[in-house]
Structures are given as C-alpha cells and as structure tokens.
C-alpha cells in the first residue's frame, strides 16, 4: 500500500469514528450547534481526504451527505431520524470501503455502484425534507401555542392514529398521558372542523401533537408501540443565528484556554489576554477589558487560567449553563465530552506503552536480584532490594493502569447504534423486537470497543432471524408479541462480559446435530457421544448453518464462526446457552485490556514459555505409565476425561530424551470445549506481562501469540493455546 493510502486510512478511520460519535450525540442533543459543526467539519475533511487519494466515489457520497445536511446547519431543516439513519449508513459505507482498502491495498473497484446506492438514499431525503416541511407546518403552531414551554422542549412528536383505531381498543390521547417528559399536547383535526351532524363517533379523525423534554432516544423507544404513524422531530434552538463577531472571538479564547488547560503552554495565555482585551476595548467595553487584565495579573499559572476563564465566561454570560443539559445534572455522563476530553495521538500512547513495558522489565529485574541476593550472605541488601521492588511494583502498577485507562472507552459507543438496527432488522422480517441495553457504561479497551460492533451485529441478527418468532407464533406460545432482546455488559475482575439474550424459540440441539451431520461438520458417530452443550457449540463451527433459504439478514454461510473468529481476535471467548422455547444467551468474555496478559511460565526444551492463564485448567504431575499411545498420538485419562498430549516436538524441536520412568509434569489446557495437555519439564510462576506482537520474520508464526522479557533478560515466548489445542 502506498504511503498516501496508509495515511488516508488512519485519518479517515478517525474521522468516521468522530463523525459517528458526533451524530449519535446530536441525535439526542439536536441543539448542540458546536457538535453539529464538528460533525459537518469531519464530513468535509473526509471528503477532502478522499479527493487527495482520488477516491471519487467516496468524495461524491460525502458531497451528497453534506448537501443533505447543509440545511440543518442553517437551521432550515431539522436533523430528523431519517437524516441521522442515512448519515450513519453513509458512514458505514465509508467504513466498508476503508476495510476494503486495508485488505486489498487499493480503492475498491465496485465503489461507484455502492456510492450510487448511498447517494440515492440522500436524494430521497428531499422527499423526506418535503415531509419535514409539512412537519414544520405542525411544529411551528405547536410551539407558538405553548410559548412558555417551547424553550424547554427537546422533541416534538406527532401521532396520527388509524381511523378505526377505537375499534381496536386504542385510546391514543390517554396513551399520551404516559409520554415520557410530556410538556404539552395538542389535538389536530384532520379536516378543519367536521360538522357535528355528520360525525361518526367511532372514527378517529385527529392527530396528536406533543412537546416533550425527554431525549429522542427515549421517545423512539416509547413510540415503537405506535408503529410508523408516529413522527419524532428533535427540536433545534429557534435562534440559530451566528454569534456576533466579538462573542465568537471570546468564545474561541475560552476554547483555547480549556484545551490548553492540560498542556503547559505558557506562551498561549498572554496572547489570549491581548486578543480579549483588544476586542473588548474596540467594542468600547472598557470595564470588561479591565476584568480580563485583572485576571491576567495573577502570577500563578494555574490560577491565572482559572481566573481568565471565569472572566471570559462572565463577559459572555455563559457560566450557569447547566439548564442546557438537564441530563448532566442527573449524573449522566455526557458521552461525547467524556471521551472527547483527551485527544491523544495514538502513536504517543504506543510510545508510553513501550516505555511501561520497559519499566516492567526493570521491575522484574530487581525482583530477580533480590532473589539472588537472598541466597548470598548480604541479607540486608536483599531486604532493601525487596523494598525497592515493592515500591517500583506499586509505581509501575499505577502508571500502567493510568496509561491503559487512556485507551478505555465505555461500551455505550458501540451499544447505542443497536436499538435502531434491531428495530429495522425486526421490521424487515415482519417481527417485532425491542432491545434493552444494560450496563452500557461498562468500559473496555479501545480495540475491544471498536471490534465489537460486527460480532454483536451478527449475534443480534441471528437472534432476530432465527431466535425471535413471528408475533402470532409468540402469542400462541403465551409470550408477548414483541420479543425482548437484552444486550448486557458487565465487568468482572479482569474481564468484560457481554451477553445477548433473547426470549425466542431457543436452539434445538437435535436440529443442530442433524444439520451438523448433514454438512459434515461432525461425524454421526462423534455426534452421538456429544453432550448437549457440545452440540450447541457446533453452531460456531465453520460451514455450519441450519437455514436452507437465505433471508435478507443471515444464512449466507457467514455463520457464528465469523463471530467466534472476531471475538478470538480480541483474545476473548464466545459461549452459548439455550433452552428450547425459552431463548438463547450468547456470551462474550473479553479481557478488560488486550495488552496485559496473565501468564504462567513453564520450562521445556531448555526454554521458558508463557501460557495465558485463561486457557490453563490445571498443572499436574502424573506417573509416566498413565500416558498411553493412541495411534501416532499420546493421551492420558484425567478426571474421567481423555486428554490428548500435544506433541511439543513439532513446535519446540527435539525435547531432551527424558527418563522412561518417573513422573511427568503436564499443563492441562482448555479452549472452548477442546481439551489438551502439554508436557513440560517444570512449572514456573504466574505473572502479568505486556505482550509484544511478533515482528519481522517471526510474524505470523503459528502457535505463538507474542513475546516478553523475563527478569533475567531472557526472551519469554508466550504460546497461543488456541493454535496448540486445535
């Protein structure tokens, strides 16, 4: 791949990510103009980047998106649900292209067609925009009717019940009494005013328009019961006129100060003071210029900044802004700002990561010396070294944790895209499903948060396509017509657990067994002796699928295997539990951070190896006689289970001819439902290591997941149990 494309990929991915976060934030906070501008700027930069690498299709697509969104900036158009969805689709499409470039090293050849499809969506938006115009027709009078409530309103909602809705037991007005955050409600008659004599009392001839202070997301969920005949329009601040120049300049100084708060760049403060004082004097606001000068008089740098900020904010009268963000007050962390607070270049973090791994090497080194010294007469030295080790250990731990925290993001970032997707997927299959998200504040490493979207989407698709039944089937089975799918995240000591649970029809082990035999995933003989869990686990095998026909969503042969592969790439594991008729739980167990691995060291063939503790079931010593040859392989029985012995010679070369008698040390490994054991010369200790991926000629070597350094300076090779066991 050429250098330009490389750079383009890095930049574009960041921009797509930023734009997506901005968009999702805007969906819930449509009045945040600052974020809207950030979002549009990201789109614009993306377009520019596409132009530089001559990726015309991408540039055109973004141009279409910009066109569709330009009305939003000027305040002529609301950022509707449709617009958000289409913009997200557009960003998804760009991600797909970026993946393509990453894989093939060149711009995808079929990009033009995909671009055309995405642009067609935006071209339809004017039709929607037309609808928005008519929406505006009801929103304006609604806001005018309740002038005192209008400023507090975040969302306008309109519902037009079916004309025969009373016959179906609907009571729409009273249903609206339960609208979250209901501020005001109006009833709009379909005709100007039907005559009383002709009125059919059981025909519903009105629409309901309401103002709410709940978030768009909450209302989206609430409104699902009403189907397509409800519209939700996020409201933007009525006055979207740009700030006067003076205010813009002062605002920019505040932003500069806030950004520079962390970094120590003393040079910036005097220039901020100069600018602010000059513009204020120019505007004849001498008193306020004096305020700034007074604040600048502070000698201590930190205080000076605080004072300046306070003065600037006072002049702009923006200090008490809490009412702008009622949800913040309620303790909800604003997603965008929380993660946007630190913008650290990835390269810098990686440098820090390298530094910390060196520090850990030193730490291990001291521990090693302490051990050494204990065996020598200098006991005093030993205890001193031990103390030092303890201190260094604590320091390294803290440093490590704080550095890893830079890379930590809440799962909300990936979760929040699913409620809409689930609804869309269910609707496309004529099913009804609701997604309930729990624990979205759980945090995980950036790589994990980013890598979760695809596997989760896959699992959710499967749940809706194969798990959730048609509404009538559900009702017949005594369930609610709308299926509930839980998407949960939780954190154990060092793992992040993510579950997708549906209340659908579950996985029938017999059908799985038949399908697996049919598709030669497993032999009939082997299948007969498999446990219920092991059979259900077969859905993760390559080539497995129970569907005969391909639906719009799944069944294209890209089954659960893809899910397992993506999760294993993140060093995680996938499990599934299912009860026929009751539902299925798919569970991902992922490491909290992908950089720190807990390993146990073993020695074999004169080398020290590390094995991730996750995969180790037991370390045992068994009499040599218990190992029996089975064909070309060897195995032994332990706790009623036949465990094959991995031929370490294949991996590590010839092992010293050991004695024919005596005991053998083995490490029992388990990956998914596969068991295996590895014969080793001796067991070492457990430790946390930072894994360095294999580079150069060693890159891609099977069976090894990375290396680290030992206290005595030897290289520790960390084995990849997955490769070993298979």
């Amino acid at each position: 791949m050429n250098e330009f494309l490389d750079q383009f990929l890095i930049e574009s991915r960041e921009l797509v990510e930023q734009a997506t976060t901005d968009l999702l934030w805007l969906e819930a906070h449509p009045r945040d103009e600052h974020r809207l501008n950030e979002f549009l700027r990201a789109l614009h930069t993306l377009k520019g980047a596409a132009g530089i690498v001559e990726f015309a299709a991408m540039a055109q697509t973004l141009h279409a998106a910009e066109d569709a969104l330009s009305g939003v900036r000027s305040g002529q158009k609301a950022l509707t649900q449709v617009l958000v969805t289409e913009s997200l689709n557009c960003l998804d499409q760009i991600s797909v292209w970026l993946d393509g470039i990453q894989a093939d090293g060149e711009i995808p050849a079929d990009a033009a067609a995909a671009a055309e499809a995405t642009m067609a969506l935006f071209r339809q938006t004017p039709v929607e925009a037309g609808a928005t115009e008519t929406l505006a027709n009801w929103i304006e009078p609604l806001l005018a009717k309740f002038p005192s409530l209008a400023p507090a309103s975040r969302v306008a909602i309109r519902y037009t019940p079916a004309i025969d809705c009373f016959f179906h037991g609907e009571d729409p007005l009273n249903a609206f009494s339960r609208l979250p955050g209901l501020l005001a409600m109006d009833l709009i008659l379909r005709e100007a005013l039907p005559s009383l004599t002709d009125l059919a009392p059981y025909d519903c001839v009105f629409s309901i328009a309401a103002l709410s202070l709940a978030s768009t997301e909450t209302l989206e969920q609430w409104v699902q019961a009403f189907g397509d005949s409800a519209e939700i329009v996020p409201l933007r601040a009525a006055s979207s006129a740009p700030l006067p120049l003076l205010q813009q300049i002062l605002q920019a100084q505040i932003e500069l100060l806030e950004v520079e708060r962390e970094a120590s760049a003393p040079g910036i403060v005097p220039s901020i003071v100069r600018t602010a004082v000059n513009v204020l004097r120019h505007d004849g606001r001498m008193d306020e210029a004096g305020l700034i000068e007074k604040a600048a008089g502070e000698t201590e740098l930190g205080r000076q900044r605080t004072e300046l900020l306070a003065a600037l904010k006072h002049i702009l009268r923006i200090e008490p802004r809490k009412e702008d963000h009622p949800s913040w007050a309620a303790g909800e962390v604003p997603v965008g700002t929380a993660t946007r607070g630190v913008r650290v270049e990835f390269g810098r973090i990686d440098k820090l990561v390298k530094l910390i791994s060196e520090l850990i090497v030193v730490k291990n080194d001291i521990g090693y010396s302490a051990d050494l010294a204990r065996r020598t007469p200098e006991r005093v030295l030993a205890s001193k070294l031990k103390d030092q080790h303890a201190i260094l250990d604590r320091l390294a731990d803290q440093l490590q944790r704080s550095i890893l925290d830079i890379r930590v993001f809440p799962l909300r970032q990936v979760f929040q895209r699913f409620p809409r997707l689930v609804r869309e997927m269910a609707t496309s299959l004529g099913k009804s499903a609701r997604l309930v998200i729990e624990g979205e504040a759980t945090e995980a490493d950036k790589t994990i948060v980013e890598g979760l979207f695809e596997p989760l989407l896959h699992v959710l698709r499967n749940a809706i396509d194969h798990g959730v039944e048609q509404p009538e089937v559900r009702v017949a089975a005594g369930k609610q017509p709308t299926a509930i799918i839980f998407l949960r995240a939780s954190r154990t000591s060092n793992q992040v657990i993510i579950e997708v649970e549906d209340d659908g029809n579950g996985i029938d082990a017999d059908i799985v067994k038949q399908a697996a035999i049919q598709r030669r995933v497993v032999s009939p003989l082997a299948a007969a002796s498999m446990t219920h869990e092991a059979i259900i686990d077969l859905i993760f095998e390559p080539g497995f699928s129970t569907t005969v026909e391909t639906t719009a969503l799944s069944g294209r042969g890209m089954g659960m295997e893809a899910v397992r592969t993506s999760i294993e790439r993140l060093n995680g594991r996938v499990g599934v539990e299912s009860a026929v008729g009751q539902g299925t739980i798919v569970r991902f167990s992922l490491p909290f951070t992908i950089m720190l691995t807990r390993i146990i060291t073993v020695e074999t063939a004169g080398q020290v190896f590390g094995i991730p503790v996750d995969a180790v079931v037991e370390t045992i010593t068994i009499p040599r006689q218990r190992i029996s040859p089975i064909g070309r392989e060897r195995a032994f029985i332990h706790r009623h289970r036949t465990i094959p012995l991995i031929r370490t010679t294949d991996i590590f070369g010839e092992v010293k001819k050991a004695h024919a008698e005596g005991d053998v040390n083995v490490v029992i490994l388990r990956v998914d439902s596969e068991w295996a054991a590895m014969q080793v010369e001796s067991f070492g200790t457990t430790m946390d290591v930072m894994l360095n991926p294999l580079e150069g000629v060693m890159a891609g070597m099977a069976g090894i997941s990375g290396t680290s350094l030992l206290g005595d300076g030897r290289v520790l090779i960390v084995l990849d149990p997955q490769e070993l066991v298979r």
Partner: protein, 95 residues
C-alpha cells in the same frame, strides 16, 4: 352509563367515561348544541369522547380532579369552545 342528561340542561360526565359513551354524548350534543357539559366528577375520558367534545366545541363546566384531564385536556376543550364563541355574534361570558 356515565353520560347523563340533567334537568338543568346540563350534560353530566361522571367517573370513567369509556369509548361507548361517545355515541350517547354525540346524540345529546346534536340535539342540545348549547348545553353545558359538567365534567367535575369525571375521572377518565376516552379519546373518542374527547374527540366528540372538541368537535362539538362544547362548553365545559368546572375542572375535573384528574391531573391529566386538568392540565392537558381542559386547555384543548377551552380552546375549542373559545374558537366557537369567536364566531358567535354575541359572545357569552367567559367561564
């Protein structure tokens, strides 16, 4: 039935007014367009009933106890009635 005609030319809505009340209420309002609707003891009005009241631009008497009816439905009905009176030659005294 929760819709009753009282001798003082008042239509009385009492308690929970279900969807079935829409038709008798409409008949009463058709034959007595100027009658007053007393809804002070009303606890629930079905949408169909509210619709009849809005279209008839009925004159409501008092306020019911239910917060939803008082805060959200009463303004709608008052507005409808005000629209009606705006077109009448001799406006009546406001409620």
């Amino acid at each position: 039935m929760s819709v009753t005609w009282r001798d003082d030319a008042t239509i009385w809505l009492d308690g929970d007014c279900p969807v079935e009340d829409a038709e008798p209420l409409l008949r009463l309002l058709q034959s007595n367009p100027d009658s007053v609707v007393d809804w002070q003891t009303c606890s629930h009005l079905h949408s169909a009933v509210i619709q009849v009241l809005v279209i008839a631009q009925a004159r409501m008497d008092g306020l019911p106890g239910s917060p939803f009816l008082r805060d959200h439905i009463a303004p709608l009905l008052m507005q409808a009635n005000a629209d009606k009176r705006a077109f009448e030659p001799r406006p009546e005294m406001p409620m």
